[in-house]
């Protein structure tokens, strides 16, 4: 690792999302909600979804923690709205595989848009959990069904 890698981890887009998060408000009438905590650092994300006809109609979240977990939640909120539950699940699998790849697999820009800024995380094994936190919340919320 070097200073360059560190810039790769903390891309400007990540710092921007951490400071000015998108979708950071819980839904008033969610169909499902999940609260996830990273017990080693106390980072928290609560994610609420409104699912109708197998499509994510709306998504909102709240939380606090490091810039990686908060930016990841913010980026997630910008890309999964209006996806089908099936497609969101596929995206989640793709995200998890890339994050666990130790820098070997990059996120596909066509699927992830700005969220490819999280690519640097996979080289920092200790931080993968931070990026995964909101995605695990999504996984649990979607598993709860409509």
């Amino acid at each position: 690792m070097s200073a360059e890698d560190l810039q790769g981890l903390y891309q400007q887009l990540i710092l921007d999302h951490a400071k000015h998060p998108r979708g950071r408000v819980l839904l008033t009438h969610p169909t499902a909600q999940s609260h996830q905590v990273n017990p080693t650092c106390g980072d928290e994300v609560t994610l609420s979804v409104q699912v109708h006809d197998e499509v994510i109609q709306a998504i909102g979240w709240e939380g606090h923690g490091c810039s990686i977990s908060q930016a990841s939640a913010s980026l997630l909120a910008t890309i999964v709205e209006s996806l089908s539950v099936h497609d969101a699940g596929a995206l989640l699998d793709e995200f998890r595989i890339a994050m666990r790849s130790r820098g070997q697999i990059e996120l596909d820009e066509d699927h992830f848009g700005d969220a490819i800024a999280l690519n640097g995380v996979s080289r920092y094994v200790a931080r993968v959990k931070c990026a995964m936190l909101p995605w695990v919340a999504l996984e649990h919320a979607l598993a709860d069904g409509e």
């Binding site: 690792m1 070097s2 200073a3 890698d5 560190l6 981890l9 903390y10 710092l15 400071k19 080693t40 650092c41 106390g42 980072d43 928290e44 606090h64 923690g65 490091c66 810039s67 990686i68 920092y124 931080r127 931070c130």
Partner: protein, 435 residues
């Protein structure tokens, strides 16, 4: 005149660790030569676990290579040598903390020590008439403090749940200082146990042991001292401190993992029932029942951590050769440098800045999460602890979920702390929070 000069010069050498002394000590710690992320390792996580000098590593290896055998069983030559060395290690550690050898029980670590006491007290309720007086019941109270490590909180929560006793705590103020004005109201005739840390693992502040012990003993309560962060850094005299029990971990004081100490006042240690039962802690066993050896053996069921105990004794000899007064003075100097340096950085809040401390400080950089601070420092080869440091209630009380902690040891140089302080200052521009 010449004699006076000599005395003063010797005194200076005797009472502090100079930067040159530390440089010499560092050569004893192989890991300190490591490079991390392309940088020289700056290890400031000794509060979590210390590094180990070669003499400690060698002691463990040498035992396995030349004397390895089970202790307190068997009569062959190696078994006798191992038993002798194992018991010498107990004597060494006892002397180091101002106790007698029969008051030292080996454990895996401090966490096991606290659990041993909590479970022994809990077993007192069902272990027969000999132990009934120690049993806790509804109406009894256990007192801890709000700044405890989870290891000195959860075992007491669980004991309270099992026995119906009530858990109370001495709160901390906004600065993290114990609210000792409330001591009389919280520690009362109903209090049976008072458990607290000698030095906070988050704040580094040395707590007023005498004041708390005096109140606890005035109401007849048992005092349990968590000495994890004091044993490596301060001269410790448990008899003088007058605590009933104390626990600490070897791995935080230059020894390997897997070895810890439970100190218990002799009478008390022999008056509580065993926790783990099995081989080597008995006198006579029938198919129906067993009678137990006196302490410490009654608490050491099963094959013991022999090499680790011997390595802990080697660590104690190493620290003693340096001199715990010098170690403590070095800690005071490190803490002054840390507190002054961190306080001088804009946007940095040092937790619990008041009071005498060891070389440890936790802090919050406004606008930057502790994990991000730690990641930035790691990139420069600096190892610190980030998170709640197993003290969630204290962090919550101070309005935080996480902080960054720098903790030094005898091998920590002033130059390293300067490098750390510069790097903390640099986090602000990197994360865009500098004004």
């Amino acid at each position: 005149m010449a004699r006076g000069w000599f005395t003063v010069n010797t005194m200076t050498t005797m009472t502090t660790l100079h930067e040159s002394d530390i440089e010499a000590l560092r050569a004893d710690f192989p890991i300190l030569a490591m490079r991390v992320n392309g940088r020289q390792l700056t290890y400031l996580d000794s509060g979590a676990t210390s590094q180990k000098p070669r003499v400690v590593l060698d002691a463990e290896r040498e035992f396995y290579e030349t004397r390895n055998s089970a202790v307190h069983r068997g009569a062959h030559t190696l078994a006798a040598l191992a038993t002798e060395e194992f018991e010498e290690a107990r004597e060494t550690v006892a002397r180091f903390v101002g106790a007698s050898a029969d008051e030292i029980v080996w454990t895996s670590n401090a966490t096991e020590g606290v659990n041993l006491i909590a479970y022994a007290l809990s077993n007192a309720g069902t272990a027969g008439a000999d132990y009934a007086a120690l049993a806790l019941s509804p109406g009894d109270e256990i007192v801890v403090t709000e700044l405890e490590h989870h290891a000195n909180l959860i075992p007491w929560q669980q004991l309270a749940q099992r026995t119906g006793a009530t858990l109370r705590f001495i709160p901390v103020d906004d600065e993290g200082a114990l609210e000792l004005a409330l001591l009389q109201d919280i520690v009362t005739e109903r209090t049976r146990v008072v458990a607290f840390s000698h030095v906070s693992n988050v704040l580094g502040v040395i707590n007023p042991v005498a004041e708390i012990v005096a109140r606890a003993h005035a109401v007849g309560a048992i005092v349990v001292l968590d000495a994890c962060q004091s044993a490596p850094h301060l001269p410790l005299d448990l008899h003088a401190l007058d605590v009933d029990f104390a626990v600490f971990s070897g791995h935080k004081m230059l020894a390997p993992t897997g070895i810890g100490v439970l100190y218990g006042r002799r009478e008390l240690l022999n008056s509580i029932p065993p926790f783990l039962t099995g081989g080597s802690m008995i006198t006579t066993v029938t198919m129906e029942s067993a009678s137990f050896l006196p302490a410490p053996q009654r608490f050491e069921a099963g094959t013991q951590r022999v090499s680790q105990a011997i390595a802990l004794a080697a660590a104690v000899h190493y620290l003693t050769a340096i001199g715990m007064d010098r170690v403590a003075t070095h800690g005071t100097r490190m803490s002054a440098q840390l507190i002054e340096g961190l306080s001088a950085i804009d946007g940095v809040r040092v937790l619990g800045a008041r009071g005498e401390r060891v070389g440890l400080a936790s802090f919050d950089v406004e606008g930057i999460h502790a994990h991000d601070v730690g990641q930035f420092l790691d990139d420069r080869g600096i190892a610190v602890r980030v998170g709640h440091h197993c003290a969630q209630p204290l962090h919550r009380r101070l309005g935080l979920t996480a902080s960054t902690r720098a903790s030094g040891s005898i091998y920590t140089t002033a130059a390293e702390i300067d490098y750390f302080l510069e790097s903390v200052a640099d986090t602000r521009s990197f994360f865009g929070v500098a004004s």
